[in-house]
């Protein structure tokens, strides 16, 4: 473990300054895991949302139960489930990827609802015009509905991103070397938990605030009428 650089325990400020680089290194991992989890959730969520609109009850009923199940059970247990069970089926992923997958799965289930609300908010006239033009299902979703739904769901998706960032330290429990893990390691070695944990919290607050502004900026950039197609 080469994360223990020169930790200066002489004074509080010296301590704080010397552990910052370590925590920042962990923060990068945290943000990367959150980003990957968010990306996975975006894709899975859209897939779930479209499947949910299938006309076959054989698909929708199990799917609805599954999504409710994923939404209402702890991410921690789902994470453990994937982490310990997947290797048994020959899928050996690094903990980072398993963590991102678990986050992606749970938040994909949330996003399915968000997408569904966004899709259903698109007026029926758009569907009818698509039928009149004989557009196939794939084209209707890809070219007509989704581009119009996106501006409406950006705030909710942004909330998901912020929530994901705040849940990512859960990866500590499967030994991913992210920010909280480093904070605890520093605490274990120096018996000073307060400052590392406070700094970790402050860094997280900083990142989530920036993220919130980023989302608001995206809201302004994306045109209200939908993703423009020329």
């Amino acid at each position: 473990m080469n994360a223990v650089l020169a930790i200066d325990t002489s004074s509080n400020w010296g301590f704080a300054l010397s552990i910052m680089p370590i925590l920042l290194r962990g923060l990068i991992v945290t943000v990367a895991a959150a980003g990957l989890g968010f990306a996975i959730a975006l894709v899975i969520g859209l897939l779930f949302a479209i499947l949910r609109r299938s006309s076959s009850r054989l698909i929708t009923w199990p799917l609805v139960c599954f999504l409710e199940f994923v939404r209402d059970t702890p991410l921690l247990i789902q994470l453990f489930f994937l982490y310990y069970v997947l290797p048994g089926y020959g899928i050996r992923l690094p903990a980072f990827l398993t963590g991102a997958a678990a986050i992606g799965l749970q938040y994909g289930a949330y996003m399915a609802e968000i997408y569904r609300a966004g899709i259903e908010a698109i007026g029926r006239g758009q569907w009818e015009a698509s039928v009149a033009l004989n557009l196939g299902r794939r084209s209707v979703y890809r070219d007509v509905i989704i581009p119009q739904a996106i501006p409406r769901i950006i705030p909710a998706l942004g909330n998901c991103l912020v929530s994901i960032l705040k849940e990512t330290p859960i990866l500590y429990t499967v030994s991913v070397l992210e920010m909280l893990n480093y904070a605890i390691i520093i605490g274990d070695r120096t018996y000073q938990y307060t400052i590392p944990l406070t700094l970790a919290g402050a860094l997280m607050l900083f990142v989530t605030t920036i993220c919130a502004y980023l989302v608001r900026w995206i809201e302004l950039i994306v045109p209200r009428r939908g993703i423009a197609l020329r």
Partner: protein, 279 residues
């Protein structure tokens, strides 16, 4: 000659509410038919069934030799998707609310379906779009978005978009009902040009009686889900036979009666004003 579109003994209900009952209609190729009637009489439903937007329960519907119900398939539409797609390629529709794609430019609105469904290249689709824009008189709006256009302009684009798919049958569901009176004229002008210059089969649902008289070959009056009377426009509108139809025509303000009414109101108002001013 075989009819292009045929309804035979069609019945349709929404739950317990029967919209169409023993409905028969035949439309010959190149014919321009207008459906009129009070609300709830089923006129829009007829168009929506033709456009496969609504299923129907009894009877048979045919367009260009294709039956809408294929035996062995389950309700509501009783036909496989590919078959419905073949039907839709023959039919186009212009909606009351235009239903343009707001996130696409006018040009993209016009070329999207030809490219995606008919497989045209971007160049070919662009060329077709240019011709259509010229026909509706909106070439300069090609790169505008629908929300930058007036209602009348949007509806003209919607007509061009429907024509881009070269349908054999074009349906108009109250195309001017959602427009300001000033823009109604420009849309009706486009539809009239279409009727005069092309061999397109058209079915219109409209309240514009004057316009219906000008362009229709036949007017059908619907009441409670079936055609009560139909015939050439002049005869239908001047000499209605059925009492229900006479009631209906009396209730619609024709341009003449509207002008009379307006003059009458103005006369009353000025008389009242004169009285108050005297005292």
């Amino acid at each position: 000659m075989n009819p292009l579109a045929a309804f035979r003994n069609v019945s349709k209900s929404f739950g317990h509410y029967t919209v169409l009952d023993n409905f028969d209609l035949e439309v010959m190729p190149g014919e321009k038919v207008t459906l009129i009637g009070s609300s709830g009489s089923g006129k829009s439903t007829v168009l929506r069934i033709l456009m496969t937007l609504e299923p129907f329960q009894g009877g048979s519907v045919e367009v260009d030799g294709l039956a809408y119900h294929v035996p062995g398939h389950k309700p509501p539409f009783c036909a496989p998707e590919r078959h419905l797609s073949a039907i839709r390629s023959r039919v186009g529709m212009v909606f009351q609310a235009f239903n343009l794609f707001p996130h696409m430019t006018v040009q993209r609105n016009l070329v999207h379906a030809p490219m995606t469904v008919l497989g045209l290249s971007r160049k070919e689709a662009d060329r077709r779009a240019q011709e259509l824009l010229a026909m509706v008189g909106l070439e300069e709006k090609a790169s505008s978005f629908p929300d930058q256009l007036s209602g009348g302009q949007q509806q003209r684009i919607a007509i061009a978009r429907a024509l881009a798919m070269r349908p054999r049958l074009l349906l108009f569901d109250e195309p001017t009902s959602a427009l300001d009176p000033e823009t109604v004229g420009e849309v009706l002008g486009v539809i009239r040009r279409l009727a005069d210059e092309h061999d397109l089969t058209m079915i219109l649902v409209t309240h514009e009686m004057g316009f219906a008289r000008e362009i229709s070959d036949r007017i059908c009056f619907l009441d409670k889900g079936c055609i009560i009377e139909q015939g050439p426009p002049d005869r239908m509108l001047r000499n209605p036979r059925h009492p229900r139809m006479r009631e209906f025509l009396a209730s619609i303000p024709t341009p003449q009666t509207f002008a009379e009414r307006e003059a009458g109101v103005r006369a009353d108002a000025s008389a009242r004003c004169a009285v108050t001013m005297d005292t």
